[in-house]
């Protein structure tokens, strides 16, 4: 929508006061009023641009509005610092993975027993009809085995079942994705050592 301040600025009488005429001082007041109204509109429009415009030097929240046809160059995604998780001596260690924080999450698994169970549950998927994917990188600290399970309805592709293991010498990277707010989550194992 174009600027509308000229609706008021066009009312300024630029021929006032007239030369050689006894001018009514109301003309000054009318002009000052038009000037003030035009400034008010300009201020509102600039304020809207300031609050609604994207700024190159700040975090911008697009609130799930579409960016159409950009070409991305030198673009990256937020990766979360490595989190250390310890297994329990009995039972399962549950961890929430918040998609809204980052799309790459790293975990060091501290195994305290011979068999260690961890369940990861991704939360805050972007909503239905929005495709999102994230990666989970996991490694262990010792020679015990970590058994990884994903919460909700998570289906891994290929020969991997929903439960995989991470041994002490390697790193496993999972890629998970969903297009229905996490109701169904698909995944694949990108690397397993």
């Amino acid at each position: 929508m174009p600027s509308t301040l000229t609706q008021f600025s066009s009312q300024i009488d630029i021929n006032y006061p007239e030369v050689g005429k006894d001018n009514d001082t109301q003309g000054f007041r009318d002009n000052f009023s038009s000037i003030q109204s035009a400034f008010l509109v300009a201020s509102e429009e600039i304020t809207d641009l300031q609050s609604n415009g994207v700024k190159l030097t700040e975090t911008n929240d697009f609130n799930y509005n579409i960016l159409r046809s950009p070409i991305l160059q030198n673009v990256s995604q937020v990766a979360k610092n490595t989190i250390v998780i310890s297994s329990t001596l009995t039972g399962v260690t549950y961890t929430n993975v918040d998609y809204s924080e980052a799309s790459y999450h790293k975990f060091n698994l501290v195994n305290n027993t011979l068999t260690n169970y961890y369940t990861f549950n991704v939360i805050n998927w972007p909503g239905s009809d929005r495709y999102a994917e994230l990666k989970l990188q996991m490694s262990c600290n010792n020679t015990s085995t970590a058994t990884i399970t994903f919460g909700g309805t998570t289906v891994l592709l290929g020969n991997f079942t929903a439960t995989t293991t991470v041994n002490s010498t390697g790193t496993v990277i999972y890629e998970l994705w969903s297009s229905d707010n996490g109701s169904t989550v698909f995944g694949q194992v990108l690397r397993s050592v």
Partner: protein, 296 residues
């Protein structure tokens, strides 16, 4: 580019009228009001340009293939193109509609054709999810992709999807779709054998090859005989497409390694013929204008 409003507003005489001095003319008042008005006109134009071209947090923004440099994405997502249940034949996947394309299938033959790849030297990728929506029967499908395709591994195009299971592919291009790379990610059915034809054919046979085309006479409107070689070309897996529409062709000699069939609806053109079998598809051949001494 900085605002130029002040080039005008700086001309406003802010010392007029002078205190204690009799006014010799009212001209200065008029000139100041004129400059104020011109300043507002310039301001209005600049605001309008910003309103039209600036990226806004609350609207859809079309970047027109301009570069966004050094952004760090957080909590981002991509558009989804939901095709629903699709029928046999050629299915367009419109890149501009989404990054993630989903469809449901029954048993049959499907050729996916990606359209509207971004222009210029841009790496562009989509992910395709094919689902057997049936809750009671498996689906045996033949999945092909049209275009100049390079597969990351040699595969055949036959897939078997269990009830409510999915298969996924990644497709990408860097040259507006002139060349397309495809990687099969896998299936949620752990025991399925998922495969796609490679350029030289999969391990189970040779894709069909149109070797000769002969019109019945010199007239382009007469039926054309199409000679095809390949393997595994008998049975129900054979499909003939005329201008991308599957037709019921009249077959002459048919063996496992060669076919002769007749296309009778040749006209001024184009007249694009394509053959598909379980081992892949032939290249498109325009049979318009061939004479009995020539061939593809």
């Amino acid at each position: 580019m900085a605002s130029t409003v002040t080039e005008i507003t700086n001309q406003i005489d802010v010392n007029f009228p002078v205190f204690g001095q009799a006014l010799s003319s009212v001209q200065e008042f008029q000139q100041n009001f004129q400059k104020i008005q011109k300043g507002f006109e310039s301001l209005s134009k600049e605001i309008t340009i910003l309103q039209k071209n600036a990226v806004k947090l609350q609207d859809i923004n079309d970047f027109g293939y301009n570069v966004v440099n050094k952004a760090v994405l957080q909590n981002h997502s991509y558009s989804v193109n939901t095709l629903g249940l699709i029928g046999n034949g050629v299915i367009d996947l419109d890149y501009s509609l989404g990054y993630y394309h989903t469809c449901s299938v029954n048993s049959g033959y499907y050729t996916f054709n990606v359209t509207n790849w971004p222009i210029g030297n841009a790496y562009s990728k989509i992910r395709l999810a094919v689902e057997n929506a049936s809750t009671s029967t498996t689906a045996t499908c033949y999945i092909n992709f049209s275009g100049n395709i390079s597969y990351l591994n040699t595969q055949t195009n036959k897939i078997t999807l269990g009830t409510e299971s999915y298969s996924f592919w990644d497709l990408w291009s860097t040259d507006n779709g002139d060349s397309i790379f495809i990687k099969k990610l896998g299936s949620t059915l752990s025991t399925s054998t998922i495969s796609i034809p490679g350029g030289g054919g999969g391990p189970s046979g040779t894709p069909p090859l149109i070797t000769s085309v002969y019109p019945a006479s010199a007239s382009i409107y007469e039926p054309h005989a199409i000679y095809v070689s390949g393997t595994n070309m008998t049975g129900t897996n054979l499909r003939v497409y005329f201008n991308d529409i599957q037709i019921t062709a009249s077959f002459g000699e048919v063996s496992a390694s060669s076919i002769i069939f007749i296309v009778s609806s040749v006209n001024l053109g184009p007249n694009i013929v394509k053959i598909t079998t379980e081992n892949g598809e032939s290249t498109n051949i325009d049979v318009t204008g061939f004479d009995s001494s020539g061939g593809p």
